[in-house]
């Protein structure tokens, strides 16, 4: 067989292989359906936060390399005013080394009391070293987020909130609200570092989904004041801890409370 014929044949074989891989990637979730999931015994956190937990705002953006919009699928809308709260979930969708340890997801259960207007959930994956902080994709293909609509009467102010300042170094030291118990005014919060190294960085690894059949995430809007969703991870290192961002679009009433519980759900 001539050299040129062999080259042609090799390209055809490689083309067939690539075609097969693309088909596998396209229909992979159908061919390999989600196996059964098993919640790991034990709740990772069980926290109740009040309106005092909203330590940031009013503002129209959430942290990333460049400011991101807050409502899923939307860019920054300057006329919007959101109040932000960060909660350390003490959880990660991957346990240990992603190559050799168990992979699963984090199930987050929420219970709102006296929610007024819209509440949006986003997540950040806290990383170490030179790996940028992860977050769920805001706009474009596979963007995701979770929105809860409440009908309580709004409050007049959010006294604990001050706007975040956009960081030129793309690094944010964020105060978490975990220590703000429902009946406490204790504001001795610890902080976490969010760091981004390039536009769009860290937006492909973490996803928010109402169902594990959609591992790449989805945008969900619900009026259910008590519900749950999953945080899943695909691709790169999702980080060693998750930070939950809860954003509300107006001042909340004094009776506002949010209970957050997380559990690790592994795949069998």
């Amino acid at each position: 067989m001539e050299f040129r014929t062999r080259v042609g044949l090799a390209f055809v074989l490689l083309g067939c292989f690539l075609g097969g891989m693309v088909a596998l990637g396209t229909f992979g979730e159908v061919l390999f359906p989600q196996s059964t999931t098993i919640p790991t015994p034990g709740i990772l956190i069980d926290q109740v936060v009040t309106k005092a937990g909203f330590q940031y705002g009013p503002q129209s953006w959430r942290p990333s390399y460049d400011p991101l919009g807050i409502y899923p699928g939307k860019d920054v809308l300057d006329n919007e005013t959101w109040y932000l709260m960060f909660i350390d979930l003490n959880a990660t969708p991957v346990s240990g080394d992603p190559n050799v340890k168990r992979i699963g997801s984090v199930r987050l259960m929420y219970n709102f009391t006296d929610l007024s207007g819209r509440a949006v959930f986003h997540v950040y994956g806290l990383t170490t070293g030179t790996i940028p902080t992860r977050t769920n994709r805001q706009v474009g293909y596979n963007n995701c987020g979770f929105i809860v609509m409440g009908n309580a009467t709004g409050g007049s102010s959010m006294p604990a909130a001050t706007p975040l300042v956009i960081s030129g170094s793309h690094q944010y030291r964020i105060a978490i609200s975990n220590n703000l118990l429902a009946d406490s005014d204790d504001l001795t919060s610890t902080t976490r570092i969010l760091w981004f190294n390039s536009p769009q960085s860290g937006q492909g690894a973490l996803h928010i989904t109402p169902s594990l059949s959609k591992r790449m995430g989805a945008v969900t809007e619900t009026t259910d004041q008590n519900g749950s969703f999953y945080v899943t991870a695909t691709g790169n290192d999702p980080g060693n801890d998750l930070l939950l961002l809860v954003a509300v679009d107006r001042p909340q009433p004094d009776g506002f409370a949010l209970r957050v519980r997380t559990e690790f759900v592994r795949m069998s």
Binding site: A10, L14, M21, V22, P33, D97, T234, N236
Partner: protein
């Protein structure tokens, strides 16, 4: 008593071992901020193709893969530890196979491209197979496997062309010849 001639001469063993060491050096020193699966193939396949293209014997690529796999395991280049050996072996064996298919004319850019792309894809397939074997659910592996395959193909192919051009220059300058190493 006739002394049995070894399959690889001392010169060939030294050359192949240097190529294997070069893979580890390149992997350690180069850190391209591309964030695209398989992008390391652009330099990873180069020493293997050059080694196979110079020695022109079946098993040369597998030898490079074996030695570089051991070095990568010892230096802890990635998280698969001892399983690195299998990945590097697959890459070397595939380039061996392609070299055989093209009569070791790996100085030709088309043959170099195919050798690099096939080697990088072999590395990817073995890597995914190992991860599945180690308990990663298949659904995680197949999400994005299409894009990963294409990027492995392209970067491996570019690395193969670079290797072919280097081999071509070595031939033209007379450092190596077509008939013998």
């Amino acid at each position: 008593m006739a002394i049995k001639k070894p399959y690889f001469s001392l010169y060939e063993i030294a050359l192949l071992s240097l190529c294997a060491a070069l893979i580890v050096v390149l992997n350690t020193t180069f850190s391209l901020p591309l964030k695209i699966p398989g992008h390391t193939g652009i330099y990873w396949v180069v020493p293997v193709i050059i080694g196979v293209g110079i020695v022109k014997k079946p098993g040369a690529g597998t030898y490079i893969g074996f030695v570089s796999g051991i070095l990568a395991t010892l230096f802890g280049l990635n998280t698969l530890h001892i399983f690195n050996l299998i990945i590097y072996l697959a890459l070397g064996a595939m380039i061996d196979l392609v070299g055989l298919l093209f009569f070791y004319r790996l100085d030709h850019p088309a043959a170099g491209f195919i050798a690099g792309a096939a080697g990088n894809l072999a590395k990817m397939v073995v890597n995914f197979a190992l991860q599945t074997f180690l308990g990663i659910p298949a659904v995680f592996i197949v999400i994005g496997i299409g894009a990963a395959s294409i990027s492995h193909f392209i970067f491996g192919g570019i690395g193969g062309i670079i290797a072919a051009l280097v081999l071509s220059r070595l031939l033209k300058s007379g450092v190596i010849t077509r008939d013998e190493a």
